[in-house]
Structure formats: structure tokens, C-alpha cells
């Protein structure tokens, strides 16, 4: 199995796919190329490749059987170095020459992405967003305010998602009451009317994403939603050039459970909003059937930044399309209550003084 590297026909530097322009860009000489031309050039080169074989059968495998199951070796088509990647890695860069490499054969038929959303946030912007995050954040622990926060690693990553389309066929019933009061002689008569409220119908969902990467916490991937699926393009291997990518390693059945939870909650809320005019409404039963459910694998762009503080690694994720940012840096409870107390003290002193002044002026009696 070989890797694919898209090189500049002009200067032989690695090419990156530019999602904005839908072109392959050379960061070295600045030229841009039509992806189809580059693919054609690559095909010609592939025909010539594979002839030379200078491997030395000297070394014994030093991997355990477990490692071998998860690790695969490839030759960098740029410098020829042997690359070891996890079996789910579909795009990476050579550890020796830095050339971006795409390994499309890593995709299985099931996990081959149908679409991909290109990056529109570049690396410089992502780094700036990371630095800006620490400004004017009053509840960040002091650990992050003592000295600069260095980026330990920044990765341009295509994260695999399953996206789901479905219709939710729902049947809901509620108990509702209306209340009316009237005066009858010396009595106030309060009448409570009880109703059974029934709603049935369908609600459609489209492009609901569920993170299909086992390594990334769903908390992080859900926090940087939504992605605009309308800007997705058809997947082609060249679109991964210059980024890292993994294929889905959580199957669609497992991801369905998460999709179902979100579909159910939303369907409950939307159907509940159709019930109005009651003093009280209590859900009695809820039955939802998923129909016309489909799922497909896609790749979404994420900048993944890690920083180390106090011996711990913290993760930042930035939506590579919209710039939405999230992180797992904790908030300081001491600062939370400190800020709350200082504000409460200030308001109390100001309020006390104001009442005193208004009373002294005779405005407040």
C-alpha cells in the first residue's frame, strides 16, 4: 500500500488543498493548480514508481502482535522514508521531510467519506484565537495567567463524523388543565378542567453529526457545532493534502444511539410547543419511531491545539469552518465566588448609601 503526496510540478514542494479557492496551493513558490491537473500528474508518476526496491532484509520486527494490528508501514513517496501510522490514519505528514501524505487505501468502503468541508480558518488565525482566549477571562485559574501559554502541538485535523438524516414519527400525549374563577354569592368558585392532549406527526432532521472518532471526546466535538454542510464538497483524496485525518473508528450503530438521544429530546420539545392555552401541561407518554433513517461518513475540519500547564495537557478545538472554539480548561470556583462576593458587596454598599441619601433628602419616606 502506498501513500499519495501531491507535489508542486514547478518546485516539487508539497501542495496543500485550499478550500476557499478549491485549488492546490504551493506554499513554497506560491503557484496554484487545478486539482484535476495534479491528479493526472500523479497518475503518470505512479506508473513509473514501484520499480526500484532497495530494502535490506536485516532487521527483525520489534513490534508486538498487538502493535502490528494497529500500526501500518508506508513509504513516503517524497523522500522514501518508512512511515508508521495507525491503521485508521488516512492523512498525515512525513516525520522526516514533512511532506503531506494521503493514504486513501486506509478507508474501508463503509468509512470512505462521501463529503468533506474544507478549512477556511488558517493556522495563523487558529493560533491567534488560542492566544486571544486568555484575554479578559476573569475565571481562568491563575496557573494559566502566570506567563505565556505556549502551544505544545497544533494539528490541522479532519475529524470523521457520521451524519444522520431521518424523520421522527412521534405520538405524544399530555395531561393539561385550564383554570377559571368566578364569584358566586359569598364564594369564589374555582373550576379546573382536565384534558387529555394528543399529538401525532413527523419531524425531519438532516445532517445531524455525531463524532466517529474514538480519541476525541464528544463534549469537544459537540461544543464546536454546527458545521455548515451546504459548504461540503465531494471527497477526493487530494482534499486531505496538508492536513491530518483519521477514518471513522466508531461504527454507525454506536453513533446512532447518540443521534437518537438528541432527536428524541428535540422531538419532545417541538411537539410540546404545539400545546398551548393550558394552565399546566404534564407529559404522559412519548413514543418516537425513526423512519427513513440514513447515515453517511463525512470529514469535518478541526484545529486541535494542546498546551501543557502544571504537568497536565489541555486541549483546544477550533471549528475549521466557522471558528467556534472550545477547550477543557477548568474554571476557578474560588474566583467565581470571589467575583460574586465582590459584586454583591459593591451593590450592597451602593444600595445602602443610596437609600440613606434618598431618606435624608426626603425622597424616600
Amino acid at each position: 500500500m502506498s501513500t499519495l503526496t501531491y507535489k508542486c510540478p514547478s518546485c516539487a514542494s508539497p501542495l496543500e488543498f485550499d478550500g476557499h479557492q478549491q485549488e492546490m496551493t504551493c506554499n513554497s513558490c506560491g503557484n496554484t493548480f487545478d486539482p484535476q491537473s495534479i491528479i493526472a500528474v500523479n497518475q503518470i508518476r505512479e506508473e513509473d514508481a514501484g520499480h526500484e526496491d532497495m530494502r535490506w532484509d536485516m532487521m527483525e520486527d520489534s513490534f508486538t502482535p498487538g502493535d502490528l494490528q494497529q500500526t501500518k508501514a508506508y513509504s513516503c513517496s517524497s523522500c522514501g522514508a518508512e512511515l508508521f501510522t495507525e491503521e485508521t490514519t488516512v492523512a498525515t505528514s512525513c516525520a522526516f521531510c514533512g511532506s503531506p501524505s494521503v493514504i486513501p487505501a486506509q478507508f474501508t468502503d463503509e468509512t470512505r467519506p462521501r463529503q468533506i468541508i474544507p478549512f477556511t480558518i488558517d493556522k495563523a488565525k487558529a493560533e491567534q484565537m488560542f492566544r486571544d482566549y486568555f484575554k479578559n477571562k476573569k475565571l481562568i485559574p491563575n496557573l494559566f495567567l502566570e506567563g505565556p501559554n505556549q502551544i505544545d502541538e497544533i494539528r490541522k485535523l479532519y475529524v470523521p463524523y457520521w451524519i444522520f438524516d431521518c424523520d421522527a414519527d412521534a405520538r405524544m400525549s399530555y395531561r393539561g388543565t385550564t383554570v377559571s374563577s368566578r364569584r358566586s354569592g359569598q364564594y369564589m368558585v374555582r373550576t379546573t378542567r382536565h384534558y387529555l392532549i394528543y399529538r401525532a406527526g413527523t419531524l425531519s432532521f438532516h445532517d445531524l453529526p455525531v463524532d466517529a472518532s474514538i480519541r476525541l471526546d464528544n463534549k469537544i466535538t459537540e461544543s464546536i457545532e454546527p458545521f455548515n454542510q451546504r459548504e461540503a464538497i465531494e471527497y477526493a483524496p487530494h482534499t486531505l493534502s496538508g492536513a491530518q485525518a483519521n477514518r471513522a473508528d466508531v461504527d454507525t450503530q454506536t453513533c446512532q444511539n447518540r443521534a437518537n438521544e438528541r432527536v428524541k429530546l428535540t422531538t419532545d420539545q417541538v411537539f410540546r410547543s404545539t400545546v398551548s392555552g393550558y394552565a399546566s401541561v404534564v407529559p404522559e407518554s412519548s413514543s418516537i419511531k425513526i423512519i427513513n433513517g440514513t447515515s453517511r461518513p463525512v470529514l469535518y475540519p478541526v484545529w486541535l491545539i494542546t498546551t501543557k500547564k502544571g504537568g497536565k495537557t489541555y486541549t483546544f478545538a477550533i471549528n475549521g469552518q466557522t471558528g467556534a472554539l472550545t477547550c477543557d480548561i477548568p474554571w476557578s470556583k474560588a474566583k467565581f465566588f470571589g467575583r460574586m462576593a465582590s459584586m454583591a458587596w459593591g451593590v450592597t454598599v451602593a444600595g445602602f448609601s443610596l437609600i440613606y441619601a434618598l431618606s435624608a433628602l426626603g425622597v424616600l419616606k
Partner: protein, 250 residues
């Protein structure tokens, strides 16, 4: 000369103090107050009298002699305290046989108390009397009269409202801290999928609101004529002395 003035001043103070001590302000014929409660109320009313010259009498009875509450309280006050010696004052009578409370005021008390809205008095005593908190009701009444006679200083007013200000401060502090927390982009799950609902895709195939049954509750209204709640006011005279009254049921 200074010594003479000092002796006269001391005598005056003793005289006022003695007369204040001698004046009975509590007449608990119904026996709803303990001795210590009675003593405390007596002290509060006497102190008010010493400060302002305004007489407050608290009276309870189990027998209102078939009179209207106002007539009973007016008669009792007129007989209990000579209008000539104490022209300004008010009596709060609580009649347990008819469950009425009634204020009878004279002199300065009419303008100070009777001309105020009737539900003013109800707010002060009615709920506490209904709950059987008699000492608290009478204590509140004396404090209420005192407050009308001696408006609080700006500092007292500010201290009175301090709990409200502290609660408002804590609420503002909490809102501010939550706002600061919302600026942190801490990762969290998204439990709903509203962003992925196809616009206008909700199609209701059934929508029924089926009436099942009704429950009816009746609550007796305390009418204003019978007192409870907002109370009522009236006026009259005894022996050439004008009285004003407010009262209600408890």
C-alpha cells in the same frame, strides 16, 4: 441656682416616669398573653407615651356585650382612660367572642390612624391574630404607631431595607459571575438537535384536545363589611369626645 434646676429637672423626670409607669396600657381580660409578654408590651407602650405623649392601649376580651366592635371599643376606651388627661391616643381591642379586632382613636389618633386606609391596620395585625400570634400582633401594632409618630432616621430606614439590598446584591453578584463563566468556552455536551431540524418539516397528523372532567372548589369570601382582610372604618363620639375607628375580622 444650678443645683435647684437640676433637682427640678430630676423631679420632672421622676414625675413623668412615675406617671408613665402608673398608666396601664395593657388590659388582657381574655388572658391570651403571658405575664412576661404583658410586661414587655406594657414597657413598649409606656416608652412610646413617655417619648410622644401618645397613649396606646391594648385590650382583649371574650365578651363584647352584644355591641358592635366600634361601639364596644369606643365605650371601653372612653371608660378606661379619661379623655381629659390623655386626649391623644388609640385603643386596639380584640374580641374573641365575635373574632373582631377594632381600633378606636381620639385626638391626634384620628388624623394619625383613622384617616389612614383600613387595610393598613389589617396588614399589621390580622394575619397574626388569625394565627394566634397575639403578642406578635400587639407588638407590631405598637411599633406601627410608633413609626407613624416618630419617622425613622435615614440610617434606620437604610438598616430596615438592608436585607432587601443584600439579597439584590447577591442576585447581581450571581448574575455577574454566571456572565463571566459564560465567556469561558468550556466543552459541554449538546443534548438537543434543534439546529438540524428541517425548516417547516413538522407535520401533525393528529391533534386532539379531549376534555375529561372538571373539579370545582369553593372558597368563602371574607366580605369587607364583616371586616376580614381589608377592614373597615367608622366614626362616633362619647361624652363630647370624637372617636375614629378601624377594624375587621380575624
Amino acid at each position: 441656682m444650678k443645683r435647684v434646676f437640676a433637682i427640678i429637672l430630676l423631679l420632672c423626670c421622676l414625675l413623668i416616669s412615675t406617671s408613665a409607669q402608673e398608666m396601664q396600657h395593657i388590659s388582657d381580660l381574655a388572658g391570651v398573653l403571658s405575664e412576661s409578654e404583658e410586661a414587655r408590651l406594657q414597657q413598649q407602650a409606656a416608652e412610646l407615651y413617655a417619648l410622644t405623649g401618645f397613649d396606646v392601649v391594648i385590650h382583649t376580651t371574650k365578651y363584647s356585650q352584644g355591641k358592635t366592635p366600634f361601639d364596644y371599643s369606643m365605650d371601653y376606651y372612653h371608660a378606661f382612660r379619661d379623655p381629659a388627661s390623655t386626649p391623644d391616643g388609640a385603643l386596639l381591642a380584640v374580641m374573641f367572642d365575635t373574632r373582631d379586632y377594632q381600633e378606636a382613636a381620639r385626638g391626634k389618633g384620628i388624623s394619625l390612624l383613622t384617616r389612614r386606609e383600613s387595610h393598613d391596620l389589617a396588614k399589621v395585625v390580622q394575619k397574626k391574630l388569625s394565627n394566634g400570634e397575639y403578642y406578635s400582633a400587639f407588638h407590631s401594632y405598637i411599633r406601627y404607631v410608633r413609626r407613624l409618630l416618630i419617622p425613622p432616621t435615614p440610617l434606620e430606614r437604610a438598616v430596615e431595607l438592608l436585607p432587601v439590598v443584600v439579597i439584590a446584591g447577591l442576585a447581581m453578584g450571581l448574575l455577574y459571575a454566571l456572565y463571566l463563566k459564560s465567556k469561558l468556552k468550556i466543552a459541554k455536551y449538546r443534548h438537543d438537535a434543534h439546529q438540524y431540524v428541517t425548516p417547516n418539516s413538522l407535520k401533525l397528523t393528529a391533534s386532539q384536545d379531549i376534555y375529561l372532567y372538571q373539579t370545582v372548589t369553593r372558597t368563602k369570601i371574607e366580605s369587607s363589611s364583616s371586616g376580614g382582610g381589608r377592614g373597615s372604618s367608622s366614626s362616633g363620639s362619647r361624652g363630647g369626645t370624637s372617636y375614629g375607628g378601624r377594624g375587621g375580622k380575624f
